[in-house]
Amino acid sequence: MAPKLHLQIDPRSGVPVYRQMMDQMKYYVAGGTLRPGDQLPSIRELALALSVNPTTVVKAYTELERDGVITMKHGRGAFVAADAARLTNEEQVEALRRSAKHLAVEAAQMHVPSPKVVRVVCEELEALGADKTDAEAPLKFSVVAGD
C-alpha cells in the first residue's frame, strides 16, 4: 500500500507544473517515503486531485520513467522503480541552487558577507535537525553565494 502523497502545485513559482510534480515525487523517493514497488496514484486520480490537465500528469510520469525513478506497467499503473536511484549529486545541487539563487540575490542586496549567509543556512539546518556531518555542505553554499 503506497503512502498518501501530499503534492502541492504552486501556480506562482514559474516552474512548469509537470516539473513541480516530478521534483516532489523525486523528493518522496529520495526521502524514503516512497519505496521501490510502491504504486503511484493513477493519472486520473492525480489529475483530479491536483486540478491539472491529465496530459501534464502523463508528461510527469513519462519523464520520471525516463529518469529511472518509476516504471509504467501497461494496464496496471505506475510504480516506484526497483532500483529507483536517490537524487544524484548533480540533482541535489540543482534542486538546492534554485532556492539558493534567491537567497544569494537577497544577501547581495543587503551586502551580507558569504560566511554570514552560510552560517544562517547552517543554523536553519540545525533547527531542522538535519545531518551536520557532511563537510561538503558549507563549501557548496559558499560557492552558490559567491556565484
Binding site: 514559474g14 516552474v15 512548469p16 507544473v17 516539473r19 483530479l48 486540478s51 490537465n53 491529465p54 501534464t56
Partner: protein, 347 residues
C-alpha cells in the same frame, strides 16, 4: 490526424473599419486545452464567434471536426458546445425546463452529468433562472454545455463572475470532460491566466486581431525568464545583444530583460565572455503576459492592419528562438517598435 479546430487567414472587419480579427491562423489538435489570452479588445470573442459560425468572416476559412459549421450535418453540430461571454438563457425557465428543452436538441444529452453538476454547484432546479444570481446563471449555461458531452467545447471567459469555489469546481469539471472515454477538445478565452497553467496544454496570446505568440504552456514556463545582466563597466557593451529578448530595459551597466532561453548555457556564455553578473528568475504565464504588454500604448484604430507586419513568436519545444517577423531581439525595447498595428474590436 487532422486538427479538430483550424482557422486559416481568418479576417473580420466591423462597420467603421474596425478590424477585429486579422489574418488569424490557428490549429488545435484533439484532446488539447487551448487558452486564448489577450487584452480587452484583442479579438478573442470575435475569433470564437467566427469559429462557431455566428459571424461570417470577410476572408479565411474555419473548420471544426473536419467541416464548416455553416454546412455541417446535425450530428457534427451536436458535438460542439459554446458558452458565450454574456450567455443568455431564457430567464423564465427553471433549470428543469432548460434541461428538458436542451435534451430535445442534443442526441448526446447526459442527464447524469446535468444532475451531478446541479448538485455540485448547488443550483436550484425549480427557480426561474432569471431570479438566480449572475454567477448561478452562468453556471446554468455551463451546465447545459457540459451535459451535451461535447467533443469540442468553446468557452468565452467561462469563469467571469464566478466565486473562487465555483471557479475551481468548473476547472475540475473541464478536467473530467478531458478524462471521459470519448475525450474533449477545449478552446477557452480567459483573463485568469493562473488557471491556464494547470488546465491548458497550449496558450495563444492575441493582440490586435492576431495571435502574436503561441506555444506549449510547459515551454513558456521552462524557457521564458526574467534576466538581469550587470556588466563590470559603466555601460552595457555596444555590441551586446540580449539573446532571445522579448523586451528589455537598459540602465547604465544593467540590462533587465524578458528572454526566451532554451537552457542556462546562454547565461554561462555571457558570464564567460563579458565577466557579467547575471540573475535569472522564472516567470509565471501571467507575468510573461504583463511584461509583454506593459507600457504598450493604446493606439487609435488603424483601418489598414496589413500595412505593417508584426512579430510572431513561436514556442514549439524546438531548441533555438524563432521570431518570424521583425527583429525584436535587440536591446532597447525594439519589441515595441515592431509591434503590429493598432486596431480594436468589440469584445
Amino acid at each position: 490526424m487532422p486538427p479538430v479546430i483550424s482557422a486559416r487567414d481568418l479576417t473580420k472587419t466591423f462597420r467603421g473599419g474596425i478590424v477585429a480579427v486579422s489574418g488569424l491562423d490557428l490549429e488545435i489538435e484533439a484532446g488539447v486545452v487551448y487558452g486564448l489570452i489577450g487584452r480587452n479588445g484583442a479579438g478573442k470573442t470575435t475569433t470564437l464567434r467566427l469559429l462557431m459560425g455566428l459571424l461570417r468572416p470577410d476572408r479565411g476559412e474555419v473548420r471544426i471536426l473536419g467541416g464548416d459549421l455553416w454546412s455541417a450535418p446535425r450530428s457534427t453540430r451536436h458535438r460542439i458546445a459554446y458558452v458565450s461571454q454574456g450567455q443568455q438563457v431564457p430567464d423564465w425557465m427553471s433549470l428543469t425546463d432548460l434541461c428538458r428543452y436542451a435534451a430535445h436538441f442534443y442526441d448526446r444529452w447526459d442527464r447524469d452529468i446535468a444532475r451531478d453538476l446541479a448538485n455540485r454547484w448547488d443550483l436550484p432546479w425549480n427557480h426561474a433562472i432569471g431570479r438566480l444570481s449572475g454567477g448561478q446563471q452562468r453556471l446554468a449555461a455551463l451546465l447545459t454545455a457540459l451535459a451535451t458531452r461535447p467533443g469540442v467545447l468553446l468557452l468565452d471567459e467561462p469563469a467571469a463572475g464566478l466565486d473562487p469555489i465555483a471557479r475551481h469546481s468548473l476547472n475540475d469539471c473541464l478536467i473530467e470532460a478531458l478524462l471521459r472515454s470519448d475525450g474533449c477538445t477545449i478552446l477557452l478565452s480567459t483573463h485568469l491566466i493562473g488557471d491556464l497553467e494547470r488546465l491548458a496544454t497550449r496558450v495563444g496570446i492575441m493582440d490586435r486581431g492576431r495571435i502574436v505568440a503561441a506555444g506549449e504552456v510547459d515551454d513558456w514556463q521552462r524557457t521564458v525568464r526574467k534576466a538581469q545582466v550587470v556588466f563590470p563597466g559603466e555601460f552595457v557593451p555596444r555590441e551586446f545583444n540580449m539573446p532571445g529578448a522579448l523586451r528589455s530595459e537598459t540602465l547604465g551597466p544593467v540590462i533587465t530583460a524578458i528572454c526566451r532561453a532554451p537552457d542556462d548555457t546562454v547565461w554561462d556564455a555571457i558570464r564567460t565572455r563579458y565577466g557579467a553578473r547575471i540573475n535569472v528568475f522564472p516567470l509565471t504565464l501571467e507575468e510573461v503576459f504583463v511584461e509583454m504588454f506593459r507600457d504598450r500604448p493604446t493606439d487609435p484604430v488603424n483601418p489598414h492592419p496589413g500595412d505593417n507586419e508584426g512579430e510572431f513568436i513561436t514556442i514549439s519545444g524546438q531548441p533555438g528562438i524563432r521570431v518570424d517577423k521583425g527583429d525584436t531581439c535587440r536591446v532597447g525595447g525594439a519589441f515595441q517598435s515592431t509591434a503590429p498595428p493598432a486596431q480594436r474590436d468589440r469584445d
